[in-house]
Point group: C2
Amino acid sequence: MPSYTINKISTHDARYKLPAGAGTDAVHTDPEYCMAVTLLGSDHGLCGTGIALTLGEGNRLVCEAIEMLARPLAGLEIEELMADFGSMARRLGNDPSLRWLGPHKGVVHLALASITNACFDLWAKSRGVPLWKLLLDLKPEEVVRLLDLSYVEDEMSAQDVLELLRNKLATRPEREHILANGYPGYDTSVGWMAYDDDKVRELTLRAIDQGFNAFKLKVGSSDAERDLRRAAMLRECVGDAGTLMLDANQRWSLPVALRRCRELAKVRPLWIEEPTHPDDIHGHAMLAHAIAPVKVATGEHIPNRVVFKNFMQSSAVHYVQADCTRLAGVSEFLTVSLVAKKFGLPIAPHVGDMGQLHQHLVLFNHIAMGHEALLLEHIPHLRSHFVLPAQVSGGVYKTPQEPGASCDLKPVSCGRAK
Amino acid sequence: MPSYTINKISTHDARYKLPAGAGTDAVHTDPEYCMAVTLLGSDHGLCGTGIALTLGEGNRLVCEAIEMLARPLAGLEIEELMADFGSMARRLGNDPSLRWLGPHKGVVHLALASITNACFDLWAKSRGVPLWKLLLDLKPEEVVRLLDLSYVEDEMSAQDVLELLRNKLATRPEREHILANGYPGYDTSVGWMAYDDDKVRELTLRAIDQGFNAFKLKVGSSDAERDLRRAAMLRECVGDAGTLMLDANQRWSLPVALRRCRELAKVRPLWIEEPTHPDDIHGHAMLAHAIAPVKVATGEHIPNRVVFKNFMQSSAVHYVQADCTRLAGVSEFLTVSLVAKKFGLPIAPHVGDMGQLHQHLVLFNHIAMGHEALLLEHIPHLRSHFVLPAQVSGGVYKTPQEPGASCDLKPVSCGRAK
């Protein structure tokens, strides 16, 4: 196998204006989707691209943190690095001069997300395979060395990981048909907060024509009647067989969330997402119990594996919305997926990467861990900015075939970064 | 009253080398204490100074975040700002372009800490009184407007704050003797990890001579026997009547923490601090139950009031180590103190400010809220850098009499910042 050494580390502060009204929710009225991009230059012009998602000018701080945090990667050969990436992830996550900015949360953790994702992208490109295939071809003992299991050993030790993956090996073929069929998606882009009712209806009917049957609506309006009216309208559009999800983006206090979730239960949503502050585990546990049979989803603002572990231990989440551009990258995403599998909880990623990288990871989760092939979020607004945008048709993600993790952005590459 | 308008906002990335071995713990072997300083220039040369604590070069990122986050303060008159500071704290904490870096944790929250502390300092200086006196002279309805109670309303509503403070008004005189007697301190500087046994013993005996009778020792060594030996030695130095605290600085996994805490219980520590990952509420709750009667202390890495609320709701902490240079400043420190009071838990601040600002806050907590006058941490290594270093003698903090919050650093001031 040829050798690829990381010989240039750079960043790009990528910011994207969205079409009018797109991306709006109860908390963010004028969002700018931003990617803190890590670029790992290597031999033969190969470039690893990693992304972390933020909103707005704070993105610059993540890029600066990447530059500080990524220094130990310089001069490392990618196969050697990935043979024990868990140790590197742990070392970077505990950088003594940056650790007090977290630990394991906020800007420094987002920087680690971007760096980690770039390493996995470079690795897959260097082997000439899509990331999902690289991951599926690893032995369980190779997978476990990608992970930093510190502080989750009480629920998921290295031995637990090995057993879980080995136990699923025999039945893998039953699940591999997903590669040909494609992974089911759901459409978040029909129900942004600033869209008027007519636009929500029109976009939903169009998406149904395109093959989707699962949709998300933003709620958490200051006008509770508006939420109820739009949710009922969306339920009518999708019919009894359609799937409807509601997302409050942390807007409600706990007492308000209890009331609103109960009111919205009548449209039979699959889940209500981020009903209150994302740190409030106790509050989510209370809600999850109080609003049954409606389920609680959360994750885009859960900072790390330790907090996810606590959510699961407290029965505070039903749908685990891990996001590898918000957690510490592919590595911690896999750790959270493993812990969720132990708790019998489904992973339904939040896609800070617009699904580009997660389309690989959900295939691994399904085939190697036995996670149900549930629904992968689809947000199309940035697709023209990716070199290889995810191919979604008939409501499913087509399995990517190109080498890497599908995160290269136009016109950003190792040669052209800042 | 003269009017003071914020007319210049600047920052200073202050970094301090420590004497050899000082500040070392199980996780940080070569610490550099850093202050992300906010400087609010105003009329007549008055300058408000706020600090947040970090370790190392990441401090720069907090300074940059301050510059982004503090913009809305420009041109505001300080009395008008502080008449409803809770609203401003909430607005800044939810800045849409920075919120995805948290929310309410990490770099952006540390920036809010520094900004908030500068506002309180400027306010006290503009009134010509020390901060403790300013706070004590406020009416309960003025105190409540300093606070952002969002997401803790389920445990501490505005009405709850008013009732708690009003109920304590009549008995205030009983507690005001603390102003003359001084607030008891404990000495963290005797037991740093890198100090050898002889040095720990020598420093402890010297501190006993100086009037201290409470001391902290760093544990979490890779050599468990070393921890036990030193803890036993310190217990021997301080005698049965002395107070001993142990601090593992997050070093242990949960299974290791369970074992080590039980072993260390034999030296009868008042608490064991940061036994495992600071995000692991469930783990702390299990530990708190398992190692009784030894108590659990934590807080310097608990990011905000919501997580503190969860710790208290879960019986996962006995000694609440809130720190106004790590939480969102004086304002969130007071909120956490109020929630702790409701739960009957003592506040024993971690002093990222080296006690300069906390010496004011513990007086308010004691007199206005009825919090027990327990122990305020004392770390003397930076005292030569403060314009008005805390006066600690006979083991107690002498009540500061100068206007402000005692956070001005030499030679940093509004005229001389970057």
